[in-house]
């Protein structure tokens, strides 16, 4: 049984491709079913995180913009 663990990753101030690379690293440290909350200030990350999730099979649960910052909730497969 997996205990739901939520991790937050702050990539504000970082530019392409660092948000993706940090996300990959953070997901590697998580268990299947865990969720990762990601904050980014890079507008390119909106499309890139979506594409990253599609390609790697991880689930993009939420994706929204809040006060000029891009927020994502990803569930690891």
């Amino acid at each position: 049984m997996n205990v739901e663990a939520t991790t937050t990753l702050d990539t504000r101030g970082l530019n392409c491709p660092l948000p993706i690379l940090r996300t990959r690293k953070a997901l590697n440290g998580l268990q299947s079913g865990d969720t990762l909350h990601l904050i980014s200030s890079d507008p390119g990350s909106v499309k890139d995180i979506d594409s990253f999730c599609k390609q790697t099979g991880n689930e993009l649960l939420e994706n929204f913009t809040e006060s000029g910052e891009y927020k994502f909730v990803i569930r690891k497969i």
């Binding site: 491709p17 690379l21 996300t23 990959r24 790697t56």
Partner: protein, 200 residues
């Protein structure tokens, strides 16, 4: 008039069943396939160091198998001491912008005549310094950082043996993470099997 025309019989096969079976096998095959990319990196300036390292670290993050073959000036990107520079001379596409000062000044593109760029001592050093400052301010990774991320993500870095001999370099000047010293004949079979192959 005999009944001589032959009746051509369709082979006994349920086409729909076969199509389903075939589609399933193809989908399984596609799902099991690990994408791969090979890059040939031939440039050794600061600006041209970014594409191979950005693409390979990102591809590795997507779960792809990546190999990069460094040849000619690209070999500079594998030196232990990275001292990469840009040259705005003869590169009219490169923006010349101030990394400091008020916003209106930062946005301005300085048109510096070639004769100045070519004759002012240390012009490239200064331009390289300004570019590095801009990259740092904008949160763009350094080449050192991207390179170690590639190594960490198992991007295979291979180097051209001929280039080392050609430019009288020594293997000890390069990072120990280089997986192999090879020639074109060793790299091409890997490139042949890859889904994406780029020359940079």
């Amino acid at each position: 008039m005999g009944n001589t025309a032959k009746v051509i019989q369709e082979p006994v096969m349920d086409r729909n069943l076969f199509n389903d079976w075939f589609d399933e096998r193809m989908a399984e095959r596609e799902a099991a396939h690990v994408p791969s990319m090979t890059i040939i990196a031939t440039k050794g300036t600061l600006d041209m160091a970014y594409p191979p390292f950005i693409l390979s670290s990102t591809a590795a993050a997507l779960g792809w198998d990546v190999s990069v073959f460094f040849t000619f000036y690209g070999l500079n990107l594998l030196k232990k001491d990275l001292d990469l520079e840009i040259s705005p001379l003869g590169n009219p596409a490169m923006p010349m912008k101030m990394p400091v000062g008020p916003e209106w000044l930062r946005k301005m593109n300085m048109n510096i005549p070639n004769i100045v760029m070519a004759n002012v001592p240390g012009f490239e050093k200064m331009a390289s310094g300004m570019m590095k400052k801009t990259m740092k301010d904008k949160g763009v990774a350094t080449i050192e950082e991207l390179r170690s991320l590639c190594i960490e993500a198992d991007v295979k870095l291979v180097a051209c043996q001929m280039t080392v001999d050609l430019f009288s370099m020594d293997q000890s000047e390069f990072i120990p993470e280089i997986q192999d010293w090879i020639g074109a004949a060793s790299f091409l079979p890997t490139a042949q099997k890859s889904d994406v192959s780029l020359f940079i």
